[in-house]
Amino acid sequence: MDEFLNFIKSGKLAPLKSWGTKWSLWPVHLVTACCGAELAHAFACGYDGERIGALNYGIARQTNLIIVEGAITRKMARVLKITWEQMPDPKFVIVMGACGLNGGVFWNGYNLVRPSEVVPVDFFIPGCPPTPEALLRGIRQLQKKLETGEAESSAYFYDLRLEKGKPPRRLPGVPKKISAAPSIVVNRPRKVDWAFGGELCEKLKVLRVESVAITGKNRIALKVSADKLREVAIELKKMGFDHVKSVNVVDVPGENKFIVEYHISSYSSKELMPVILNVFAEVPRNEAKIDSLSDLFPSADYMEREMQDFFGISFKGNPWKGKFLLAPDTPEFPLRKEFKLQEEIYVGD
């Protein structure tokens, strides 16, 4: 077996083999994130990546190149490794996009993995997103590496000299101001010119709510107690509100509470269409439980599961248990305020 491998790698026909590999770099279909849009452009009729022998192909076992398109999340890292292991030798990895290099815009996110920690990377293509020209140049660099055996950077860095006589430019310091004891009010009333809103508020006041406030044009906030949430939702459904647009949780550790919000709206009633009701309830942080509305409004189901992942709130009545959006190894309840992300360093300080 070793003899055979040696023959392939350095025998008489070895140059033929490397020439063949050079012109048939087939990337596997592993569109990991949004850079895939530029990858598609590179292989469509505008740039035509096929003319340099690269052709996207669906099945990992018949390809020899992975183009990692941007961010690799904790869930995707496992898939990247499995795909890489399935591919026959020789195989190469090109990482495209700033997220793949060192995180890019998402550098301090909790769910990102550097692809270079998962698979051996041959070339990086920076950019957010890199242009199709840059991607094709990355493939050309890989071809050159196959030809000469040496990886070479195609980036050229100019020598920058310090300018004398000029005062150095003052960089701004940390511009962030973060309140130490924030007070969160989600139903702050606002004065707007909206006649229908007044009528609607009168109708809503009859329900068993704690307070009704107009928070903007077409926006009404209803405060309910956590145990009445379901009753109010049933009444709202009778009024013509038929779907949930968003389920939101606001963590307020200073007051030891979660604010659970359902943004409810209507598709079937013409006059209710623009209205978004923010039905919210407060639950204590240490006993975060609330009734699920997923059987009344099936559109809330996946968003409740998401909030369960993010905040650790259990929605009584939602049958889903375990993680939905997050990977098994993601930190627990990452959107709670006590989970802190790394802060950036400002040069001006």
Binding site: V31, C34, A37, T73, V105, S179, V185, Y267, L325, L326
Partner: protein, 409 residues
């Protein structure tokens, strides 16, 4: 037809344990006991972006589909809490970069709503042009991915050829092919010259001409019609119940478009129609978007013809007409008043919701909630698969234009 059952004990294969299925073990066993199978579609599949579908089939008829999203979950909501309001503009457009202007617009409108900023008319028209260009681009992108799903390579090449014109327009207007971050609180980054707008005006006719040949080649192609017609039907009632959004809701016969229901920017000043279909099948979902492209072209032409002069950035932000050079001083310190601000914007794939919760003292959002269209119609997408053949899964997937990076955020 009579069903024949053979009493052979079937055990779920051992490999299922190593695949990190998010479903309980009992569910897997129950499926196998009922003489059914679990088929895992993805995460590595020919679509754009990745997700896993756990498909429960009997024979080849789909009984239930459990989605396993989160392969492109990049924690936008958490990261936004650590950045300034303006630093979040590039962040919020990353979920779907082909639709960057619409996602950007929704976030900026939430800030403007909070700060009561008055946007100049010219900026509103420029924003509308940008948003519609991105809408056309996204619909073409989805049409191309649909044809990849159907195995129609030429159908992939044509929309991407047309998309080059869109990218060119965006480069001329904003300087970037995809991620322009051109829309900022109070207006847009800079004025766009008349020559560029004229170029875009003539490009709309080039797009229209090329679309006609795409129509002959793909949209009215009998094989495409046969694959998509009467497949993955969502009735009007179901679409409302599962909270489907955007063109997919309109394909089921609901006349709902945020641009009409709650008009923003220049949409109430131009003349255009909501595109609605009644069938709710994959083909009408595709056709609605094709016709929306025609409407978008119409909007762009009207906007360019009627665009008023004047400033492109609000007086409340900047005295001059060009914010370049003083962007940081003017915008880094913006603080929203305390409260909650929710905006609804019609992105290409449906309504996108931004909720900013501010404490009134910090210049970073206390909480930013982003709900993208992909995440909203995922439930409807899963329901529409029920009762279909396994071979039609790709056609339905493509007809929804489901884009996991957008859905997972």
């Amino acid at each position: 037809m009579k069903e024949i059952a053979i009493d052979v004990p079937v055990e779920p294969p051992k490999e299922l344990e190593s695949l990190f299925l998010p479903i309980p073990k009992e569910y897997v066993e129950e499926v196998y006991r009922n003489d059914e199978f679990l088929i895992l579609v993805g995460p590595q599949h020919p679509g754009s972006g990745h997700m896993r579908l756990i498909v429960r089939v009997k024979g080849d008829v789909i009984q239930e589909v459990i989605p396993d999203p989160g392969y492109v979950h990049r924690a936008i909501e958490k990261i936004a809490e650590t950045r300034l309001y303006v630093q979040n503009i590039p962040l919020v457009e990353r979920p779907a970069i082909m639709d960057s202007a619409n996602l950007n617009l929704g976030y900026v409108r939430a800030i403007e709503d909070g700060m009561d900023l008055e946007v100049p008319e010219r900026a509103k028209y420029l924003r509308t042009i940008l948003a519609e260009l991105c809408r056309i681009g996204t619909h073409l992108y989805d049409a191309a991915i649909l044809s990849v799903f159907l195995g129609h390579t030429t159908g992939f090449m044509y929309p991407f050829g047309i998309r080059e014109l869109i990218c060119e327009s965006l480069v001329k207007m904003t300087g970037a092919r995809f991620t322009s971050s051109f829309i900022i609180p109070g207006g847009v980054r800079r004025d766009v010259s008349k020559e560029i707008l004229d170029w875009i005006y003539s490009a709309t006719f080039a797009i229209e001409k090329r679309l006609r040949s795409f129509e002959r080649l793909f949209i009215k192609n009998p094989t495409v019609v046969a694959r998509l017609k009467d497949v993955g039907v969502l009735s009007k009632k179901e679409a409302i119940e599962f909270g489907v959004v955007g063109p997919f809701l309109r394909a089921s016969g609901v006349e709902y478009d945020v641009r009409k229901v709650e008009p923003y920017e220049a949409y109430d000043k131009v003349d255009w129609d909501i595109v609605v279909a009644d069938d709710g099948d994959s083909y009408s979902r595709f056709l609605v978007r094709v016709n929306e492209v025609a409407q978008s072209l119409k909007i762009i032409r009207q906007c360019i013809a009627e665009i008023p002069g004047g400033k492109v950035i609000s007086d409340q932000i900047c005295e001059g007409n060009d914010i370049r050079g003083e962007f940081f001083e003017k915008l880094a310190g913006i603080v929203l008043p305390a409260g909650e601000f929710t905006t609804l914007t019609e992105a290409a794939r449906g309504s996108v919701i931004y909720t900013i919760v501010s404490d009134g003292e910090s210049n970073v959002p206390y909480r930013l909630r982003v709900v993208t269209p992909g995440w909203l119609y995922l439930r409807g997408f899963m329901e529409s698969l029920k009762g279909e053949r396994l071979a039609d899964l790709q056609a339905i997937y493509g007809s929804f234009g489901y884009f996991p990076p957008e859905a997972d955020r």
